[in-house]
Structure formats: C-alpha cells, structure tokens
C-alpha cells in the first residue's frame, strides 16, 4: 500500500480501526500519493486524507458505478491490461438481458423464489454448467473458482472490444446511467467533487501508476455488500490495478485471525481451504464422486479439488478413511439450509438449537437485532461461554436492559450457563492469519492463571471426554466421533496439546512416514497424503520448521517474516504486475517478471503463477488444470485465468454489480425505481424482526454504525480494560448541528433512537463531522452510532445493535448495519419503558444530567 499513488478508503475507517495499517497509507501520502476517503462521516481517517467525500450511507455502488462509467467514457482504462488479463473481450450469450433492459432485474429472475437462474449469464458457446441451476438455490458462499467458466479453451472473444455482446460493451451499457449527476442526486456528493475524485483515481492508474482501494465492513454490511466489492474489483481491473504493487483492494478485517477463521473456516458453509460444505439439497453431494463431479473445475487450480478433499478427509478421519469407504465422506455432516449467524439466532429463538458454544464472541451486543439475540440465548438449554471478561452474552439473564427493567426475571430463564475463563494470546501459542493472509505465530509467554485455559486445551479435553463417552457406541453417532483422529502430543502443566502438531496436520503430510509435504502440489487423491487445509500447505515444509514462526523482516515484501498462503506469495495474482510478454509494466511498478535467460518468473515476491510457464505459453487443446491457462493469464485461481469483469456464475444477485437501495432507505432507487431493494436479499420478516418500508416517514434518518479506535468489536476485550475504557467511556450518537438545531438538541443531551426492533437512549455528540446531504432535492440527515457498547464493563452504553434488523446479503449472508433508517428524539426514554443503558449517572454535564 505504501507503493500506491492514490489510496481510496471507502467503506472503511482505516485510521481508526487499523491505525497501524494506516502507517502505510501515511507513507504513501508522504511520498506524494493522494488519499481519498469516501464515507458518510468525517472520521479520523478523513482528517488525514486529502479529500473527504461525504456520501449517503448505502449509496456506495452508485458512486463506484459512476467511477466505472467515467473510466470507460473518458477512455481512462488500461487497455493492454484489460484486453489480456480480464474477460472484457469475452462474448456473452444472446439470452443475456441486462438490468437496463429489464428495469433493474437481470434475465433469469425467478420471482416466486426471489432468486436468479444464472443460465443466461454464461459465456457464448459454453455449455450450461452441470450444477449451475442448482447452485443458485443453495446455500453456499460464492467460491472464487466458480466465477469464471468451466473451460478456458472454448471462449469466444473480441480483442477489439467492439462486439456489442462482449463483456466490455455490456459493462459500458450497464453503467451508462451511473453519471456524475446521478451521484449528486443519489449519493449527495456534488458533481465537481465526484469529478475531482474520478480524475485523481484514473490519472493515478495505468502503466506507471497504481491506485489501491481499502474497504472494511461498511461495504460488506449491506444487502448488496458482495456487489459493492465486485464493483470495486471491476473498476480496479479496468484500471489495471490488480496484482500490481500499490494496487489492489484491501479488505480491512477486524479480528486477529478473521482471515484465518475463513481460510480454516469456522463457517457453516465451508470446509478448510474454501471447499464448499456438502449440502443435502444438492443431490450430487450425496457421494464423494458426485461432490467432486459437481465442484471440480476442469481448468485452473480447482482442477485438483479431489486431492485437496481426500487429503482433508485423511487428516480428519485418519485410518478410518479408506478408498473403499470413500474416505469417510459420509461422516462429513451435510448442511440443510442457511445456518449462518443470523439464521442461528432464529434457530435458537425457535427452539431448534438447544446448546451453544460461544468462544470469544459476544452476540448479546455484537449480534444484529440483539434484543432478539438475547431472547434466543434465554431459550437455550445450555450455553458455554469462553471469554476473558464476564461479557454480556454470559450475563444477559440478570444484567440486560430487559432484566434490569424487570421484563424478564433470572428465575424465568432456563439456560444453563457455563462460563469458562479463557487464556489470551500471550498465555498460549498458536498462529493468527492477518488481513493480508500472513500467518504469524505467537509464542507462549507465561502460563495462564487460575482456570484460564486456551481453547485448544478446552477442545482437546472436551474431544477426549466425548470420545470416551461414545467409546462403545457403534452407531453413526459413535462412528463419527470415534473416527476423528484426536491423538495429539501434549505438554505443560495443563496437558495442552502441542499446536505445532496441528500445524503439521494443516500443512499436510504423507501418510506412510508422516513427513510434512512442501506444498499442495504434493497432495494426492488416493489417500496417501493427509492435509487439513490445502491452502496452508507449505507452512511447515519440513518437520519442526514452522514458517509462521519465521521472523526476519525487510522493508520490501518481507518474505521471511511469517507465511502467506498460497506458498508464501504476498501479492495475489502478481503475474499481472508484468505485461503480457513478462516485462514489468514500468520500472516504477516492478514486482514480478519473467527472466528470459533463466526461463523462470522472478522478482520481489514469490510468484503465485507457475514458475516456469513462459509468457508465450498457449495451452494445448484439452489441457486440464493450470496447464489450461495461457502464459498471460494471471488469475490462477479462476477457471479461465482472467480477471472477471462479468461474473457469469457463482453470484446470487447478478453478473454485474447493480445499485439497490439498502433494505431500509429513506429514498427510493433513482436508478431503478421499480426495484428499490435488492431483489434477492434474504429477509426474515417476523414480529420480532420488523422492517421499515422504504421512505417510511416515521423513520426519517439514516443510521449507520461504526467502530472507534479505542474499542474492539463488541467490547469483550476492551470495555473492561481500564486504559481503553477511559478513552471512550460511554456510548453516544453523532448528529449534525443542523439536525440538532431542528430537534433542539445540545451537545451532550440525552436522545432516544428507535427502530421497529428497539429503542435506546444515549448521549448526543453534536458535531459538524456529520453533515446533512441533499438527496434528490431534499435534505437528508444521517446519524452514526458506535456499536461497541453494552450494559457490562467499565465503558457502558446502549447497544446499537438493538436497533438493527436481521437481513442478509444473499452471497455472504452478512447483515446490513451500515445503512438503515431510524427515528431520533430529544430526551430520554419515557420512564415507564426505560431501558437501562448502563451508562447512567456518568453524564458529561453533571449539573444538567436530567436532560428530559
């Protein structure tokens, strides 16, 4: 990022939430880069940026679409890159109809089921993917491998980009109405300001310059989150900013190993390494062969899926997994429907789910519609909470606002609760994967005190006990738990398992001599190798050499610091940093290039491209796997090796990012008046999760939630820590002086914020950092609330998530907390129904504490 010439931070508050990451932005800035922050609020990030663009929360896609349109209209795209490295020249089949033609819908919409049939989106001349029809109806996360098409060798293309059915022209038509005027009307961003930003981005992209984007949950937490990111990817591909130093799209993630917990997923729909979970409704998933047939791609790295999957099964089920029993594929549970976080809340509330483990998560504060969330917890038979502090999720039964108010009594809550104290990073060893896929090991400094234990110790102990309990059970229940290999070496006073043994299992080893493999290329599908997470393969290339522990850095790619998957490559698709002939695009932006004499790829980084594949390589007909990719196809993880401007399969809401209003919006969709909300967003309309209709006058303000530097997520690791609590001691809502003037509110007054889900009282921070916008000719007020606060801890406050609804992006199943509507009034909640906020009695104006 320090190499960027222009950094656009949008949907993120980088300086506040990733201050140390922001170092690199500051470095770029000091080297002359332009920093642009596009965000509803003027935050600490804005303060350090060259431009702050205040826009309406939830209108990001209009802005990005307009940038795409600007790029195309003014011929600012990087033509050589676009033609060679993206699917822009690919011809799409004739049945495809765009949103421009169908009033906001793509062809293939099945209205009854609120879903798309993606068949019409396929490339011309390609057969319908065998599973495409089914895929759209099921519940798994988009796998990047699907994003292209099955067979790269059969594409019809037009390298001149002139064919009206080619992707390039389709994209141009799709975004033609995303104009600066539309930005002004819909985002509330003055036309001139937009043009300034567009000019800065496009003039800082190309052969010699690169622009990078950084986003965080303010892009993902929308019903169109995936599409917003898609729009940015599209723009960056057009500008040639992917796979190059100082380019790219950085996802700024919030937890220490949120990347690792996606790679090695504690997610319902994935197996380690982004292999989808077998699903019951997908009939082919019933058997191993069927699953492989369904999910394997003929070209690209996903061709080797059988090797990854069989090795995983060998790692899990060990000796029990044999070729004749399909390596125990049948023991892998099959998902039924949506079991994501929000669905889980409803499963708990509705009594389907009886027991819950909660390790380092605080859904009573951090979950959307947390009132419903707490009711769900109260409906469990048992709950195991493992954390450092007595978080709200453990204390809800006596301390929640509804309990303080007397609406629920502890003696009415049936949940049996186990609170087990957890060890912290310095008290245990293990690895985290940071937001740039870098795996780093942390050593154990001291033994944890008291009953505090690491999760690994807890899990190992629990697993042993369960194995013991099921020892004599020959039924399916017993078979499943007994087949799992659970024999790890232990050490230390608490019988902790040696986690390097787990690393080795994740890395993969040969079954015969248990020798670690050096990379996923060594994996086989005959059961001779075991590998717990194929993308992490190579992290322990030889016994005892844990690369996560590598600790010698330099100021370039720092290849000897930690391990980045895949194969320690730091910049994904870095083949794109060289031109089609393998030469660096420019001296300034040198990263990876083809060494013609040595006949291999070399550079500052580990190429994630086959090292010896020459730039002029052309695949022979019928080639499989990576061999089917040409020497100028950098996107090795995609089927055709080309960056996908047009995503023909794998997305639930269309092949091209399209703007839909947030589920709850005060304005209607100016681009597609017939189609205000996303046609495929997943909603849960029920009495305890009511929605506001678009432009509901009772809820005239846009509410967005955010985080503060001083706290961490739902606060379990910060609100109890005195040094952090004092820095942001209480919750608040930020409102503009204009709105404050209208409502008669002074800085520090109590205000009540309400939605149909809940009502909370908090302090007003009246600040010009929030400003009203002119949207479609009318003034629109936005308010912002940090969502860290809860009723426990030293820094307490109303729970912002009490206001949020359960509604999901169909692809990622992430909720929408960054743009919704609310009402806001002066004064505290009426006494009768007052919810304790936990923040009472520590007001900022002691003399006039009683605001109402």
């Amino acid at each position: 990022m320090a190499d960027s010439d222009c950094v656009v931070i949008m949907g993120a508050n980088m300086a506040e939430n990733h201050p140390v990451g922001f170092r690199f932005v500051m470095k770029a800035k000091e080297r002359g880069a332009t920093i642009i922050h596009i965000d509803p609020r003027f935050s600490r990030t804005s303060a350090l940026s060259d431009v702050h663009v205040p826009l309406r929360a939830g209108s990001d896609l209009v802005f990005l679409g307009a940038l795409i349109n600007y790029t195309l209209k003014h011929h600012k795209y990087f033509k050589d890159y676009v033609v060679h490295y993206t699917n822009a020249p690919v011809i799409i089949n004739d049945d495809y109809r765009d949103t421009e033609e169908l009033g906001g819908l793509f062809s293939g919409y099945v209205e009854k089921e609120r879903r798309y049939d993606a068949e019409t989106w396929r490339y011309a001349g390609q057969p319908v993917h065998s599973g495409a029809e089914q895929h759209a109806s099921e519940d798994f996360q988009t796998r990047e491998g699907v994003a292209g098409q099955d067979d790269a060798t059969k594409q019809q293309t037009d390298p001149t980009l002139q064919d009206p059915r080619c992707v390039f022209q389709i994209v141009a038509r799709h975004y033609a109405r995303y104009t600066p005027d539309m930005v002004e009307q819909s985002c509330g961003v003055p036309r001139e300001l937009f043009l300034k930003v567009a000019e800065a981005i496009t003039s800082n992209s190309g052969r010699d310059r690169t622009t990078s984007f950084a986003y965080a949950v303010a892009w993902t937490q929308h019903t169109t989150g995936t599409q917003i990111i898609g729009a940015c990817a599209l723009l960056q591909l057009l500008l040639g900013n992917i796979g190059r130093p100082g380019g790219g799209i950085l996802a700024l993630r919030g937890h220490a190993t949120i990347q690792g917990s996606t790679d090695i997923p504690t997610l319902y729909n994935l197996l380690p390494g982004y292999i989808p979970m077998p699903s019951r409704p997908v009939q082919s998933h019933a058997t191993l062969d069927g699953f492989i047939r369904e999910e394997k791609l003929e070209t690209g790295i996903w061709h080797d899926l059988p090797k990854y999957l069989v090795s995983l099964l060998k790692a899990w089920y060990g000796a029990a997994a044999q070729p004749d029993n399909d390596f125990c594929y049948d023991l892998v549970p099959k998902i039924e429907a949506d079991h994501s976080f929000q669905a889980m809340l409803l499963m708990m509330k509705d009594g389907i789910m009886k027991g819950l483990f909660c390790m380092g998560q605080n859904p009573a504060v951090g979950g959307q519609n947390s009132i419903l969330g707490r009711q769900a917890l109260a409906n469990l038979d048992w709950l195991v909470v493992r954390d450092v502090h007595e978080i709200e999720t453990a204390a809800f039964w006596y301390d929640a606002p509804e309990a303080r108010r007397g609406d629920i009594r502890p003696t009415e809550v049936k949940t049996e609760i186990f609170f087990l104290p957890a060890a912290i990073s310095a008290e245990k060893e293990g690895s985290y994967t940071n937001t740039q896929r870098l795996v780093q090991w942390h050593d154990k400094g001291v033994e944890p005190s008291g009953d505090c234990r690491s999760e690994a110790t807890f899990l190992y102990d629990l697993g042993k006990r369960l194995k013991e309990l099921y020892r004599d059970d020959d039924g399916p229940r017993g078979r499943q738990i007994n087949a799992v290999t659970w024999d790890y070496p232990t050490k230390g006073p608490f019988g902790e398992i040696d986690l390097e043994a787990v690393v080795k299992e994740m890395n993969g080893y040969t079954v015969v001599d248990r020798r670690p493999v050096t990379g996923y290329a060594e994996l086989t599908d005959d059961g001779s190798t075991a590998c717990g997470c194929w993308i992490y393969s190579g992290i322990m290339p030889e016994e005892g050499r844990n690369l996560a522990r590598a600790r010698s850095g330099d100021d370039r790619a720092a290849l000897d610091w930690g391990f980045a998957w895949p194969g320690n490559c730091r910049l994904l698709y870095n083949r794109a940093s060289a031109d089609p002939d393998g030469r660096p695009w420019s001296e300034r932006k040198k990263w990876v290039w083809w060494d013609g004499e040595q006949r291999h790829w070399t550079g500052h980084d580990v190429p994630d491209f086959p090292t010896t594949k020459p730039p002029d390589y052309r695949p022979p007909p019928g080639a499989k796997g990576l061999a089917a990719h040409a020497g100028d196809a950098p996107f090795v993880r995609l089927a055709d090796g080309k960056g996908a401007l047009f995503v023909s399969a794998g997305l639930k809401d269309g092949p091209l990012p399209t703007h839909y209003e947030p589920w709850e919006s005060p304005v209607s969709n100016l681009l597609y008046p017939e189609q205000s909300r996303s046609p495929v967003a997943l909603s849960f309309p029920r009495p305890d999760n009511r929605y506001h209709e678009p432009a509901d006058l009772r809820f005239p303000y846009v509410l967005t939630t955010y985080r503060l530097t001083e706290h961490h997520c739902a606060g379990g690791m910060s609100r109890w820590v005195p040094w952090l609590a004092e820095l942001q001691p209480e919750g608040f809502v930020e409102i503009s002086p204009e709105l404050a003037g209208e409502l008669g509110i002074d800085n520090g007054d109590w205000v009540t914020v309400s939605t149909l889900r809940g009502q909370i009282e908090t302090r007003a921070m009246v600040t010009a950092r929030i400003q009203p916008l002119r949207i479609d000719g009318k003034t629109l007020h936005q308010v912002g609330m940090p969502w860290h606060f809860g009723f426990g801890g030293l820094a307490a406050g109303a729970i912002a998530n009490d206001l949020i609804a359960l509604v999901e992006d169909p692809n990622s199943r992430i909720h929408q907390a960054k743009a919704l509507t609310c009402n806001l009034e002066r004064g505290r909640e009426p006494k009768a129904g007052r919810r304790g906020t936990g923040g009472e009695g520590r007001g900022m104006h002691p003399s006039r504490d009683d605001g109402a």
Binding site: L697, R698, P737, E738, L739, A740, G741, E742, L743, G744, I745, D746, N747, D749, T752, S754, T755, L756, G758, Q759, M765, V766, T767, A768, N823, E825, R826, P830
Partner: protein, 343 residues
C-alpha cells in the same frame, strides 16, 4: 415500542450547540495551566506568617528606641510575632501531600525558588523570633526567675537580637508575594514584582494594626503611642491601597476578572478595599480631621478592620489567582507576547 412521530421543530428548545461551539477560541474552556491546590491552610499561613514577620520587624524597630512606650510596642510585637509563628510550620506541613517528608525542604537552597528561600527564611526567622520571644518572656518573668536558662535569656541583648532579625521578619512578610509571583498564574505573575511589596505592606499594616489593637485594649497605653502606631498603620494602608489599585489597573480586563466579577469581586471591593483598607483610613482621618485624637474604641475598631482586611487580602489574592489559573483566556492573554516582561 416507538413513540409517536413528532417533528423536531415543534419543540425547539436547545440550539444545536455542537462540539465545535465549545472550542472556538480555546480548548473547551479548559484551564491551560494547573492551579495550585492551596486552600485555607496556605491562606492562613500567608496571613499569620506576614503578621508574625511584620510584628517582629515593627517590634524590633520599636525596640531600638529604648523608651518605655517603645519597649511596650516591642514587647507586644515579639509576643504577637511568636504566637503567629507557632501555627505556621504546622499549617505548612499539613498542606503537603506527604507531610512526613517536610524535612525534604531542607535538602536544598534554591535562590530562584521563593518557596525554597522562604523555607530557610522561616527557619532563620523562627530562631530569631523564638529567641526574642523567649528573652521577652524571661524578662517578664514568665519562665521563672531562678533557672539558668531564664537567667541566660534575660542577659540576652534583646534589641541586638531584634535588630539582626528585622531583615528575616520583613523577608517572611514579603516572600509570600514573591512566591506567588514566580508562577505561571496570570493574576499573580502579571506585575508580579509588585506582589512582594504588596504582601510586605500588608504584613506591616496587619502587624501594626494588631499591635495597636492589643495596646489600645491594654490599660496604661499612652494616646501618643497609639497615635504613632496609627501613623505607621495609615501609612502602610495608604501605600497598600495605592499599590493594590495600581497593580489591579495594570492587570488588564481578562486577567483582573476574578477581582472584579462575582462573589470574590464583592469580597475584594467591599471586604479588602472597603472595610479592610478604606474604612480604617477613614476612621483615623475622620478623627484627625476633627483635630482630636481618636478614641480608643475607634482605634481598636480601625485596627481590627485593618487586621481582617489583611486576612481577606490574602484570601482574595490566593483565590483570585486560582480562578485566573482556571481561565485559559487569562493564561493566553498573559502569554500573548504582548509585553509580558514590562516589569
């Protein structure tokens, strides 16, 4: 769940005052410097210390003359001085955050630190004062007649000891002012060079007033003695009022605000300037105007007023200084670069 929808402008009460409005010209009105924690202990000490030092000096000077009436003045001065001295170290020590470490004050002597100098002054003065008081007590037979110590003390040349101690007496009377002036507190340090003299004058006036008060109440004091004391007292009071008004006029409006505004302003105007300084002067001059010696009652009243004026003056100066330290505008006014070193 939601209360009824209501348009905001129907109930306009607040003004939408924002974060920014609170920090237009300074930082949310927060103090830019830290005020001292000093409370009544220090105020009392400043008064008693001044009284003690002043009484000693006045008494000792009177002791130089050798006549009976002057000896009376000296005697009263020595006793008042000693009595006022007694609580002083206690007050000072109680004021410390760590009283048990009071002796750390004697680790160093810093010439530029009035407090350090003051500590040593107090020590030296304490020796003189105690010696003189003991000598006086021995002469008055309060220590017994026979014992060797009393005899030794009686042999002490009281006027010589007193003469040597005059300087330390004045130093004790005046250093409080220099102590306050050597700070960043706007009200104290602006025109700070006048604060020492002001304190000293106040010490002399208080001392004279207290001696006058005692002698006016005692039988057998000649009116001429009282008149002499009153002359000194009115001279000190006049100088004090003149210097005080001069100083105040040069503080500037922002810095002088605590002396003018609010309760403290009232105390300053009516208590210090009115009852404490003007009233005694008026009482004395009314008599003088009528060409007669003032009655003992008037003298006693005037002295009592001057004495309380002296105490109030300490209170007002210390409190006003603390208030001005809390006012960032005063601090910034002081440090605006506009001739801060005129004096």
């Amino acid at each position: 769940m939601t209360s009824t929808y209501r348009r905001g402008w129907e109930s306009r009460r607040g003004s939408g005052r924002s974060v920014e409005d609170a920090s237009r010209t300074n930082y949310y009105g927060l103090p830019a410097i830290h005020k001292p924690h000093w409370n009544w202990l220090i105020i009392a000490y400043f008064f008693l210390g001044g009284l003690s030092g002043g009484s000693y000096a006045v008494g000792s000077i009177a002791g130089l003359f050798g006549d009976r009436e002057s000896r009376k003045i000296a005697r009263v001065g020595r006793y008042i001085s000693f009595l006022a001295l007694l609580p002083s170290p206690i007050l000072l020590i109680l004021d410390l955050g760590r009283p048990e470490r009071f002796h750390h004050m004697l680790r160093v002597l810093k010439v530029r630190s009035p407090m350090s100098v003051g500590v040593w002054v107090l020590l030296i003065f304490g020796a003189f004062c105690s010696l003189s008081a003991a000598g006086q007590a021995a002469q008055d037979g309060l220590l017994g007649r026979r014992n060797g110590a009393a005899r030794l003390l009686r042999a002490l040349p009281g006027h010589v000891v007193g003469a040597l101690g005059i300087g330390s007496g004045f130093a004790l009377g005046g250093y409080g002012g220099t102590l306050l002036s050597a700070t960043a507190v706007p009200l104290w340090t602006k025109n700070g060079v006048l604060l020492g003299p002001l304190f000293l004058l106040s010490a002399v006036s208080s001392a004279t007033a207290s001696i006058t008060l005692v002698l006016s109440l005692a039988r057998g004091t000649r009116p001429t003695t009282l008149a002499r004391l009153e002359r000194l007292e009115s001279l000190a009071l006049l100088s004090e009022v003149a210097l005080l008004l001069f100083t105040q006029s040069r503080l500037g409006r922002t810095i002088a605000r605590p002396l003018v505004k609010g309760r403290l302003g009232l105390i300053h105007h009516f208590g210090v300037l009115g009852l404490g300084l003007a009233a005694p002067l008026v009482l004395q001059y009314m008599a003088a105007f009528r060409g007669e010696a003032p009655s003992r009652v008037v003298t006693a009243l005037a002295s009592a007023l001057a004495l309380s004026g002296g105490a109030l003056f300490r209170y007002v100066i210390v409190t006003a200084g603390r208030l001005s330290a809390d006012d960032p505008r005063a601090t910034f006014d002081l440090a605006s670069g506009q001739s801060p070193t005129a004096w």
